[in-house]
Amino acid sequence: MKKLWNNKDTRRNLFTYALVIIAFVVVQIMLGGGMLGYAAKGFLVPVCVYISLAVSLNLLVGVCGELSLGHAGFMGIGAFSGIVMSVVLQNLIPNDVLRLIASMIFGGILAGAFGFLIGIPALRLRGDYLAIVTLAFGEILKNVFSNLYVGTDANGVQFSFSASGVSLAEGGKMILDGPVGATGITKLATFPMGFVLILFTLFVVLNLINSKEGRAIKAIRDNRIAAESVGINVTAFRMKAFVVSAFLAGMAGALFGLNYSSLTASKFNFNTSINILVFVVLGGMGNIMGSVISATVLYILPEALRELEDYRMILYAVVLIVVMLCTWSPKIKGAIAAWKASITEKLSLNKKKGVGNNG
C-alpha cells in the first residue's frame, strides 16, 4: 500500500477519482437539501457528458499526441444511435436504467467501429493533416445525420436517406427525421448515470495510460522513430487510442442525446469539437484531472454569467486567455513557481522555529 502511495502517478489518479466522488457527493447533498435551482439541475448531466468527452479526447490529443477535430462526430454517432436503440428496446427492456446502459454501450460500440474504419485511412496521416481529415470527417457525419431518416413500426426499423424512403405502418414512429433531428425523446439520462460514466471513462483512460500500451503510446508521441526502432507497432497503438477515444465519446454522446427531448444534427458541428478541444487544452494536455476541472468550470461559466447578457461572451474569452497565460506562459509560470518557493521557504522556516504546524 505504501509502495502504491509513493508512486506519483497512482497518487495523482487516486486524487482524480476522489475529486470526482467528492464532487458527486456534495452535489447529491445539495440536491437533497433543495439548494440547486432549475438551471443548476439542468447542468448536471451535460457537465458529466463534457467531462467524459474531454477526458476521452485528452487520451487522443494529450497522451497520443494526435490532434483530432472530429470528436463531436463520434459524440453524434453515439447520440443518434443511442436514441434509436432506446426506442427500439422500449418493449424489450422496460427498465429505464438498463435501457440507458444498453443504449450507451451500443452508441459506444458504433462510434468505436466508425473510429476504426476512419482510423484506417486517417491514421496514415500525422499532425495537421490528421486534424484536417478528422475535421472533414466530423462535417461529413453531421451532414449524414441531417439526411438520415429512421423510423420504427411493428415490422422493425427502417433506414433511409430520403423522407419518402421510410414508409411506416399504422402506429409506427419516426425516430430521426432528417434536419428536424430526433424529437419526442424519452429522457433517460440521470445524474448518477453521468457520474458512473465519468468513473468508467476515468477507469479506462487512466488504466490505459499507466499500462504497457500507454507507455508505448506515449513513446510514439515523444519520438515516433525511436519507438518504431524498438519494435513498437506504431499504427496499432495509435489505432487503439483512437478507437478507445471514439468509443468513450460515443457513450458520452448517447447519454447526451438521451438528456434532451429533441436533438438536431447541427449540434455536432465543428464548434462542439473545438469546444471539447478547448476543455482539453485549458486543462492541460495529458492532464486528466485538468480536463475534468476545466470541462466543469468552462461549461458552467457562460451559463453562470447569463446575468451579464451579451458581455458574457467577452468575459468567457477573457477567462480563456487568462487561463492560457497563467498555465502556459513561461514568464507567469516562473513567477508563480518563485512565489510558491518563497511560501514553502517561509513555511519551512516557521516549522523549524516551531511556530507553524500546517504542511
Binding site: 497518487r11 495523482r12 486524487f15 476522489a18 475529486l19 467528492i22 464532487a23 456534495v26 452535489v27 445539495m30 439548494m35 440547486l36 435551482g37 432549475y38 438551471a39 443548476a40 439541475k41 439542468g42 447542468f43 451535460p46 462535417e139 451532414n143 441531417s146 439526411n147 423522407a163 432528417g178 434536419p179 428536424v180 433531428g181 424529437t183 419526442g184 429522457k187 434532451y260 427531448s261 429533441s262 436533438l263 438536431t264 447541427s266 449540434k267 476541472i293 466543469t296 468550470v297 458552467i300 461559466l301 451559463e303 453562470a304 447569463r306 447578457e309 451579451d310 461572451m313 504542511g359
Partner: protein
Amino acid sequence: MKKLLAMVLTVVMAVSVFAGCQPAANNAADANTLKIGMTGPLTGGAAVYGTAVEAGMKIAVAEINAAAEKNGGLKIEFKSQDDEHDNEKATNAYNALKDWGMQIFAGAVTTGPCLAIAPSTVSDNMFMMTPSGSSDKIALTGNNIFQMCFTDPNQGSSAAQLVFDKKLGEKIGVIYDNSDDYSKGLLNGFKTKATELGMTIVEETSFTADNKSDLSTQVNQCKDAGCDFIFLPIYATEASQILTYANKIGYAPKFFGCDGMDGVLTIDGFDAKLAEGLMLMTPFNPDAAESKAFVDQYKAMMNDTVPNQFAADGYDVIYSIYNACVALSINGETPADEVCAKLVDYFKTYKFDGLTGSGMTWDANGMISKIPAAVVIADGKYQAL
C-alpha cells in the same frame, strides 16, 4: 498535503460556481407584476430573428406598463435569455427563467429550441406561446403550447392555393434548403396542395446550410427547365443571392416567398430594387396604417430598421397573453400551473386582434388560424397582392 489542499479548493470552487446558479432569493412574487420570460437567439447566426422578437415584445411591455392603470395596475416584468439557436443552450435558458420565477413562457423564437423546450413546459405545466416557431410539431407536443405564426405545412399549402387562384405560374420551380426544417415543412405543404390542384412542379432543387454561399447552379437549373414561377420557401438572405444572380443572367421569372422572406428589403449589400415584383406571404405589413405607431417605436429602438413580421409576432404574443390575463384576473401571485390551466381554457374561445391579423383564433392543438395575406413588393414597399 498540498495536493489535497488544491483538491479541496477545487471542489469548493466548483460548488461555488454551482451555487452561483441557485434561485435568487429576491424573486418573490409581486401581485401587480406578471413575469413573462422569453428565449431566443440574441447572438449568433439567427440573431436577426431573436432580436426582432425581443424588441417587439419590449415595445409591447413598455406600452402595457405605461397604461397599466387602465387594467387595474397589472404590469409586466419581462426577461429575455439568449439561446444562440441551440437546443442545449435553450434548455439552460429556459431553466434560468424558471429560477427567475417566470409565470408565462413567450418563446422560443426558432423551431429547434421550441421543440427542445416544449416537453419541459408540458411537464412543468407552463403556458407557452411561441411567436415564430412554425413547425407543426411544436403545438402538437402538448395542449399548453400555442403558436402565433402559421405552421409550415399550412402556410405552404395556402401558398399553393394562392398561386393557383391568381394563376401566377404554369411551370413551377422550387429552390429549398434541404438542411432546414422550416424550408422542408413549407415545401411539403406546397407540394401536397399543388398536386391536389393539378399544378406541375417542373424543377425541384435544393441547397444545404453548408453550401449556400453560391446558389447560381440552382438558378440555372430552374432556367434550363424553363420555369416561369419560382417558389422560394427559404429565408431572405439566401433569397437575396438568388435574386441577384437571376438578375445578372437576365432571367426574370416570378419569385414567390413565404414569411421567412420578410426582411429582404433590409439585407446589407443587397440592391432592394432587385426585389421589385417579388411576392411573399406575410401576416404583417409595416406600410399599413394600423402598424404605424408600432413601426415608429421600433425604428426609434432599432436604429431605423423597419420591423419584420417576427417583431410584430412578438408584440402580438405579449398583448394576447396580457389581455387574457387581465380578463381572467391572473396576477403576479398566481402560480404558473394555475396560470397555464386558466389560459389554456381561455384560448379555446379567445378572439384576438393584433398587428398580424384580426379575429385570430386558436384550434384545440394551439395552432393559429388567421387570414393568410400575401404582398407584392412595388416601389420598395409592400402592397397587398
